[in-house]
Symmetry: C2
Subunit: 196 residues, 2 copies
DNA sequence: CGTCTATTTGAATGTACTCAAAAGCGGTGG
DNA sequence: CCACCGCTTTTGAGTACATTCAAATAGACG
């Protein structure tokens, strides 16, 4: 049963009694997201945050020229949304797309706020989640600023091996901030080195 | 009196009674940081988080080649630390430097943890801080990935006008991820446009 | 005033991009 | 099951953005 997993996951950070667990689970709405469908489209009000039970999701930004930048991937155990727009009840800048058939729990902005009020222990849980997200993004910025694309690519493969298996090179390139052509060139350069 | 400011600042997010305010203030240690001195050096255990009362601080990363990347600036009203290493009680990757004579409140890792336990309302406060920090870094990543250096420079000037007044071009360049020479070239290009 | 660092300028170089075309791969329908 | 379609990946040539290195100029500070 899936609900066991999310409670187990939360249990690594905070302790809940049976009532609290039930109260929390009651707020969640299970959703199936077929491959290539969107949980969130750009411009629509960002109403929900999602916990991934299974599958793979991608959040990406599209600039005026149509170029996509992948902001994050999410696999089982991750929460994903357009956090800025979720918090501030604004139209989403990001789109959320299923990269394969996925199953998520949906939690609405209002229910999230109620949850934090009703069960203050969730303030701690989300404080830890936000703190992890912050430090993760900061490490990403440090890397983007200080190391070249080739090394960032290998770091990505090492840090997110499960994600790397599920996504295309094009998507990895858009996460690293390079073109798919250039990523391809890096890879073949590496192969030539390895072979010779 | 400075303590009024920090309490006022916190009061924008959570409500504290007089006892809680006193308990919180008792954890803080006031520190003067003269210009060009370091609050935190790379490799030292990152023991503290700092709230800036006055002045300007900079957090930066130094790579193997000696190149500096500015991770953040902090002026009055901001908290600053090497968050990843603070949370995980690790040697700092970042250095914290005063760009002018500054005055800060220091809160140690242990006292921070006690504060969260003793006054759970601070879980909410730091949840909001972490959430703001996360969304800020995510917007920065989106910009770094999707827009060219020249536009990022102007966005920086618009977003952080007070910071821009206090820091050198070299430091702004290292925040944007470009060399000072290239920033200088962008600026003179802009001037030529404006003049002609 | 002299020293130190920041900023500017320019030339040569390198990293990454654009555009175009070919090859590979997966899914779908006949 | 095979043929075709669309998308991803590869490859290559030409280009643009950004860097490095060097040197001159300007500013800040004791």
């Amino acid at each position: 049963m899936h609900s066991a997993f999310i409670l187990q996951n939360i249990g690594r950070h905070i302790s809940l009694n049976k009532e609290e667990e039930a109260h929390f689970m009651a707020q969640l709405q299970e959703k199936l997201v077929p491959k290539k469908t969107f949980l969130q489209r750009e411009g629509n009000l960002c109403r929900n945050i999602y916990y991934v039970n299974s599958g793979t999701l991608r959040a990406f930004f599209t600039d005026k020229t149509g170029r996509e930048s992948t902001i994050m991937f999410a696999i089982a155990g991750w929460w994903i949304t357009d956090m800025f727009c979720f918090i501030n009840r604004q139209p989403a800048m990001l789109q959320l797309e299923a990269l394969e058939d996925s199953q998520v729990y949906q939690l609405s902005r209002d229910d999230w706020e109620s949850l934090l009020n009703d069960l203050p222990v969730f303030e701690k849980y989300f404080r830890i989640l936000m703190q992890n997200a912050y430090t993760r993004e900061q490490l990403r910025i440090i890397q983007n600023l200080s190391i070249p694309a080739e090394e960032r690519y290998h770091n990505f493969l090492n840090k997110y091996p499960l994600v790397a298996k599920q996504v295309t090179q094009k998507q990895i390139a858009s996460y690293l901030g390079i073109t798919p052509e250039f990523l391809s060139a890096l890879r073949s350069k590496k192969n030539r080195k390895t072979i010779s």
